[in-house]
Symmetry: C2
Subunit: 339 residues, 2 copies
């Protein structure tokens, strides 16, 4: 019995060692275990991460007064308590409008590792991305001036911007978005999978390692690779037609490409696909095999992959819920009832 167990452990470890190489060859990369390396990777050289910016950015991320109604914050659709998303099939914004292309809210966790932002990849980084939803009519619907007027009308925010950027800071809409992005750059969720890729061969169970191997062997890592296991633009409907596309739904960018979503914390971000029409992870896996890889994944293979994906559940940074400073006489008034 002892010998049997020992040989099982040895087998797993041997598999572990070669599997790490296989994963790396397939383009999979871990979140760095080294804190300095991670900071270097996630910080924006043009606007380096500091504690003062992160704290201010967190407040702005939770700040509903950055929306036209005063009701919707970044956290409404990218809820940090719900895997960084909202559980909706399409994002719901200002006046309860659904996203016109029936696009769901992508998770904000690990979005720093994406090469492109938004489902159509039109934005190169989080600083640019953060400007979108604040202004978009079916999201927060706020003109740039409203956002800056709100922030500059509240002395606590002005002081915090001065602490973060210096006494003579110009609090523009872009600077506000930049600061939200600095906070978002900290929303990274290392998991046992990263421990594994970083060399701890026992960090994943034998079943999870088998799942990772199936994931690689079937070709999933062709698109779901790098640190995010996603984040690049890829063709959609390569070997089959997505079952749940409806009239008016987003069909990809001008070239038919769709930004690949991260698989980190994927167990927390149902429903799946850009239009949120797939309820379960197992169906999402099978449909991906069919339309992207031209393989009919059987139940066992699907289960194996799902077991691996569960191991991508990461440790979320602790968030002290921010107490936001009160409005002043100068803060623009909202009239959500009549407006």
């Amino acid at each position: 019995m002892k010998a049997l167990m020992l040989s099982a452990i040895v087998a797993t470890s041997v598999m572990g060692a070669s599997l790490i190489d296989e994963a790396k060859t397939a383009g999979l990369k871990p979140i760095p275990a080294n804190k300095k390396a991670l900071e270097k990777l996630t910080s924006n050289p043009k606007n380096p991460t500091t504690a003062a910016k992160v704290e201010l950015g967190k407040m702005l991320y939770f700040e509903p007064r950055l929306s036209k109604s005063g009701l919707i914050s970044c956290n409404t659709c990218h809820n940090l308590g719900l895997g960084g998303s909202d559980g909706m099939s399409a994002a719901i914004g200002h006046k309860w409008k659904a996203n016109p292309h029936h696009l769901s809210s992508p998770t904000v966790y690990n979005a720093v590792f994406y090469s492109q932002q938004f489902w159509d990849g039109r934005s190169p980084h989080l600083e640019d991305q953060a400007q979108g939803p604040m202004q978009a009519a079916p999201e927060m619907a706020a003109p740039k001036e409203l956002v800056t007027d709100v922030v500059t009308s509240i002395p606590t925010y002005v002081t915090m911007f001065q602490k973060a950027y210096g006494k003579n800071v110009n609090i523009t809409f872009e600077k506000i978005a930049d600061t939200i992005a600095v906070f978002e750059r900290t929303l990274v969720t290392p998991s046992r999978y990263d421990d594994f890729l970083n060399g701890n061969k026992k960090a994943l169970t034998a079943a999870e390692q088998k799942g990772l191997k199936t994931f690689i062997d079937k070709g999933c890592a062709t698109c779901h690779n790098d640190i995010a296991l996603g984040g690049t633009m890829q063709a959609f409907n390569i070997t089959g037609e997505y079952k749940y596309m409806k009239v008016g739904d987003f069909k990809g960018d001008a070239n038919g490409l769709v930004r690949v979503p991260t698989l980190r914390n994927v167990t927390e971000t149902a429903p799946y696909y850009h239009n949120g029409q797939v309820a379960t992870l197992s169906e999402a896996i099978k449909e991906m095999g069919r339309i992207q890889l031209g393989v009919e994944l059987n139940d066992q293979e699907t289960n194996e992959i799902e077991t691996f994906l569960k191991a991508l559940e990461g440790k979320k940074p602790a968030i002290a819920y921010p107490m936001l400073p009160a409005s002043t006489a100068k803060t623009p008034k909202v009239d959500v009832v009549n407006d």
Copy 2:
């Protein structure tokens, strides 16, 4: 100069001592400084506060899946980062509906000290109150069964209920509301005003003490008394007609009574009055004098009272933002786009 300053300090202290007595005679009471005494005062004897219940109650308080849409939580309208309210003149709920009587969301902070809950005082305590908004059509709009189905479909919640109430707990709608109420009972914000009433005569500045004296002398404490400086049912429009009443607005209960709002953290909960039609605290003070006390408060008196009210800003409990457990295959699906 030194002698002058000293005499000013002595005068403040003497004033302090007698003012504490005056305040107590006027029915004003501090939040107990003693932790045990506070716990005894805020805990529900039928459902005593425990750490396990508070943690679960906090998660449920932030849980949007307790609403029909999956988008609205208790914290949407009673935002703990915005003084426990939402800054709206009327609460906005399911499908962006405004409260039909144009009622604003009262703060949840210190609501445990109220004798009655809701603007019409129809509810005796937080356990009962918490059942209302979850079900109300213009708020969270969730049938009782939906709420229990969501909670019981998520194993983490079931386990937490078992830890909080014992293995055989029956997770009913009422039990869920009770648990939210246990969390709300901890949302107490002691301030320098409490230090003062608890005997520290220097806890309030001379100007704040003068403001407190004016507050008492003008009769504000007739209704704004006890620990909450509010929380009982009182007649409205006693000596004048409220300027900003519109057709359809709430006019009081069957007897014309309105639940007096707390003045704690009142600097954070504009706009004022049950229909949220008064933007500034100074106007709110003057209008109250006119319609409730029959006095025209001049600018100096108004300023004095406002200076005192600012000292009611309390220390909020630290809230670690809860990471909510993922939905399962059994969790009721929402279809907010088509529903």
